[in-house]
Amino acid sequence: MLDPDWSVIEVSSDPLRRRITEALFTLGAGGFGTRGSVEEPVPDSVELVVCAGVYAGPGPTDGLLPCPTWTALDIDPAGDDEAPDDHRVLDLRTGVLERTTTRADGAVLRTLRFASAARPGLVCLRASGPADVLRAGGGPLRAPKGAVSTSGTTRGRQWVRVVAPSGTGVVALGTEQVQLTGTTREVSRIAAYAPDRPRTPGLAGARTVFDDADEVGIDGLLEEHRAVWERRWATVDVAIPGDPDAQLAARFALFQLWTNVARHDEMAAGARGVSGSGYSGHVFWDADVFVLPAMTTIDPRAAAAMIRYRCRRLDAARRWARAAGRSGARFPWESAASGADVTPREGALGGQLVPILTGVEEEHITADVAWALAHHHAWSHGGAPMPRNHRAVLSETARYWASRVTSDGDGAAHIAGVIGPDEYHEDVDDNAFTNGMARWNLRAAARHAAMSADPAEITHWREVADRIVDGYDPVSGVYEQFRGYFALERLLVAEVATPPVAIDLVLGRERVRASQLIKQPDVLMLHHLVPDDVRPGSLRPNVDFYGPRTAHGSSLSPAVTASLLARAGRADDALALFRVAARLDLDDRSGMTAAGLHLANIGGLWQCLVGGFLGATVRDGVLVLDPHLPAAWPELELRLRCLGRRIRVRVDRGDVVVDSDRPLRAGLAGGPVLDVHAPTELASGRVVAIRRSSS
């Protein structure tokens, strides 16, 4: 029985739409992702299995290594004049993708597949149909086209290994059972995946993942898998009564965050996750600033795995800093397996070839990485001491900034020649976001430094931080995005086009560069990330100033802007942008969803619900709420993880109600802190109702 609150349904057999649904219907667990390609060969299909962090090579364009595939079936092709009725349903509640294809002659083919959430790395497929349509043969696994692969059988199971030139690779191990009952054939397939590294041979790893899956069988494995998803949704979920579209989009976001990022050892979260080959699988600030805060509230162990990816590449960041003649550690704008910079040096804006300067100048990522681990620590561990390897990242990034600033004759500290989040303006000086994040980084490192740290260095960090300029204008309450920005042509997006729009394509780079038009929030990212480090009361004037200048030409922009608008008290405007973000992939608004899901947007969408509409922050181990609901939402309920607790927050016009499975300190912004006492089960938790005086 289809539940529209939980189902993403595709009824089109349009092969062009299929490229998009391949990304939307990605299934995954444990870092392995399988695109939702149909089972039969289709021209232009991008059937793909990838493993996060396993790349085809070290170059800027190498991308994730294509792994053996497991979903292809030998299906008799329908004739050109008999387009089948094709019905595909992704059940978000259970993590199962089902398909029913009815042909013109009435023949029905059914498939069901899932990537086991209970046994990450294990995947299952069951198909049934008329024997003359669903043919036997092919085996459970196929090597990807053009791959360097080896294959064989062991203990009756097929294995296929793909190897990158570096020697790393992936091994898949699979079995298939084919049963003929009358004229109906049923194919059952189970496969296990494991990374293949010199010290951890993949075949042994795949055997471990496979374990007793044969004996458990697909029905048993499906039961385990559903149980995990049931637990997930019992812990993290969203309810938006009266707005089923927004609710479904938010659940889709949660589903794909679990699918693409929920891995607990080390997670290299690429800009498109494991849902496609776009952006070469590279890790950007998208991971640290957009995805990680979401995962902290969804699956804290996955967020910790993302931090582990950064911590283990601290040496590479140190080398990158040294290469630039600096101290400490500088994280690269784009990174892959080794942690070295893999940012391309040229690209194209529409048809115009352009140099890419982000690898050289978009330095704020160094502070973003530090922010991510501090944010995760605050949300997950409150006031507990920070682990030593996390403190090392904070200290080394602070050393980088201390060596990066220059001082003028008045003693003010500057950072010259950077690109902020607004990539329309390159090579600028004193970008407010970069400077603000560097200042935050220095102070955070000083705050978290171990007792054994050099007191003189800590004092130096604080002193440098205090001297960094931030472009704040006390008269208007607006931060100047970079030195000279206010003198640029005053041009508003509405005078040119309707956002979201890649306005640099409309006007050309030079015109945009000479104007105040911006790609995405830049100054306002300070208000988003470090609201306690900006001038009190500066959110609204900066939202009012920069909002009309923001083209949202980056997919990162709408969701985070929606969050800022909600916090600024403009909840209805926030909802309008939330809807833009919610449909970005579902409606292929970028025209590029086929290359993979826009994971930062998806993370930003959840952040907008938590940090924007709920107004949730954690300060000194206290959950602080400042909800702002749009008129169309009389009620919003979120379940999430916070401070090691499973909590539920329900907001309506009058009340804010908090549940927690363990003791929790919570309050409304500006109000008293209350104790949510100690029930052991969320369902039976004592409810603390916080009545808002303004309602």
Binding site: P15, L16, R19, P43, D44, P60, A271, G278, Y279, S280, H282, T343, P344, R345, E346, G347, A348, L349, G350, G351, Q352, V354, I356, T358, E423, A497, P500, V501, A502, I503, D504, L505, V506, L507, G508, H552, G553, S554, S555, L556, L584, R589, S590, G591, M592, A594, A595, H598
Partner: protein, 228 residues
């Protein structure tokens, strides 16, 4: 049944029209049949005659010259033909000995893509180097262009998948601005022998702007493919 390219020859254009027809016929695996314009016939009668000829099953395309004294006749044939017509823009243009490289400006519409599919197949089958050009209209720019180092590849891949289906053997060039200005630029830069344009066959004022401008500027034969 053998297929033919109908060379519509008016006085003074025999060499260029026959040359263009021959080059196209080689691509299409067809022969050339010359049909001469009767200078004494009324234009409407000539148009009807040639359109009827092109409706015959063996006619796969036609060739005309705009150096002809009767442009009205040529526009009439172009607007009425349900088959592609290669146009020699003027007497300065020389027909290629063979079509080695073709420029195919393509809008992001399934209608254009469908109209071109057969022609693209024929060009590719004949080993022609195909350069697809898409000119981004600034007023219909994509909503998002996240990172120029990666977005272009993703966008081009999607464009080719959607609008050049099953043709992995084409190259793509993207420009921004006005199509009628980019087409001659790219045609010259790529040294193409043929430009292929899908058009609506509507000649009322304000229509066929790109076709008119292209015919007047590229200096190589232009194959006009009806959109429906």
């Amino acid at each position: 049944m053998s297929s033919v390219v109908v060379a519509i020859v008016s006085p003074g254009t025999e060499a260029t029209v026959t040359g263009a027809a021959t080059a196209l016929a080689e691509v299409l695996g067809a022969s050339v049949r010359r049909e001469f314009v009767d200078p004494d016939a009324a234009v409407e009668v000539s148009i009807a005659r040639f359109v009827a000829l092109l409706d015959e099953p063996d006619a796969v395309a036609a060739a005309v010259s705009f150096a002809s004294s009767s442009r009205e006749l040529m526009w009439g044939v172009l607007a009425g033909s349900r088959k592609p017509v290669v146009v020699m823009p003027d007497n300065r243009a020389k027909p290629p000995a063979a079509v080695a490289r073709a420029l195919v400006p393509l809008e992001a519409t399934t209608t254009s893509a469908a109209a071109l599919e057969e022609t693209l197949n024929a060009l590719a089958g004949a080993g022609v180097d195909i350069v697809v050009l898409h000119v981004l209209d600034p007023m219909r720019a994509p909503a998002y262009w996240d990172h120029p180092g990666h977005a272009a590849e993703a966008w081009v891949t999607e464009f080719l998948a959607r609008f050049c289906r099953h043709r992995p053997d084409v190259r793509m060039t993207v420009r921004t601005g006005a199509a009628e200005e980019s087409i001659p630029d790219v045609a010259r830069a790529e040294r193409v022998d043929l430009v292929v344009l899908v058009w609506s066959q509507r000649l009322d004022p304000g229509r066929a702007r790109i076709v008119r401008r292209t015919l007047g500027s590229v200096g190589v034969p232009v194959l006009l493919v009806p959109a429906t």
